[in-house]
């Protein structure tokens, strides 16, 4: 079965710190996604990538950047963390570039910015 692994389950950072969230998938999927999940707001797409070194902005990219140097790894970067970035971050992958493909999710990283 596909496994999507997020490096940290819980993370506590201070305002202004640079934060890296790592995600690795083991099934050679083309596409990878970063979402954030907030109560009452559901899941919102931050960035996604259809190929190595390729990235596209989602619905809420402000304050974030991403890196995809290898096919299996997709990193989310908070250049200068702020308290409004406290959230659950979910990484996902899918096999092919089609909106009809099912997503495989990691277990999430609960980030607290103090």
């Amino acid at each position: 079965d596909v496994k999507v692994t997020q490096s940290s389950r819980y993370l506590v950072k201070r305002t202004g710190e640079k934060v890296f969230l790592e995600c690795v998938q083991d099934m050679d999927h083309e596409n990878m996604f970063w979402y954030r999940q907030d109560p009452g707001l559901g899941l919102r797409l931050i960035y996604f990538s259809y190929d190595v070194k390729m990235k596209e902005k989602g619905d809420i990219p402000e304050g974030y950047s991403v890196s995809r140097e290898k096919k299996e790894r997709f990193s989310l970067i908070l250049e200068s963390a702020s308290t409004n970035q406290t959230s659950m971050y979910l990484c996902a992958s899918s096999l092919q570039r089609s909106v009809g493909e099912k997503l495989f999710f990691g277990s999430g990283t609960q980030l607290s910015v103090l």
Partner: protein, 112 residues
């Protein structure tokens, strides 16, 4: 703009009773509709999807969903609820050439 709506924040049902979790959509072109479930402290898991074909879609764990074009709905159903079905359910959707949009989710609580 593409959107999906889950009109109920929470659904309560007794174990053994049928359950329905509602979802309506508004997308351009042919809809791509999904149901995902999130158990506590876990990521989302795929349950089922509708792209084309039969309006009744069968998925994992005994769940099914009915696509209704005239009502623009894609409600999730199960004939007999289990306590272990208690979780957060999401109904994301997309239109042709658009990104997947998630709603706010519906919490299902199944009690003995």
């Amino acid at each position: 703009a593409q959107s999906v709506a889950q009109p109920e924040d929470q659904v309560n049902v007794a174990e053994g009773n049928p359950l329905t979790v509602k979802c309506t959509y508004s997308v351009s072109g042919n809809p791509y509709l999904f149901w995902y479930v999130q158990y506590p402290n876990r990521g989302l898991q795929f349950l089922l999807k509708y792209i084309t074909g039969d309006n009744l879609v069968k998925g994992s764990y005994g769940f099914e969903a009915e696509f209704n074009k005239s009502q623009t709905s894609f409600h999730l159903k199960k004939p007999s609820a289990l306590v272990s079905d208690s979780a957060l359910y999401f109904c994301p959707g997309a239109g042709t050439a658009s990104k997947l949009t998630f709603g706010t989710g519906t919490r299902l609580q199944v009690t003995l």
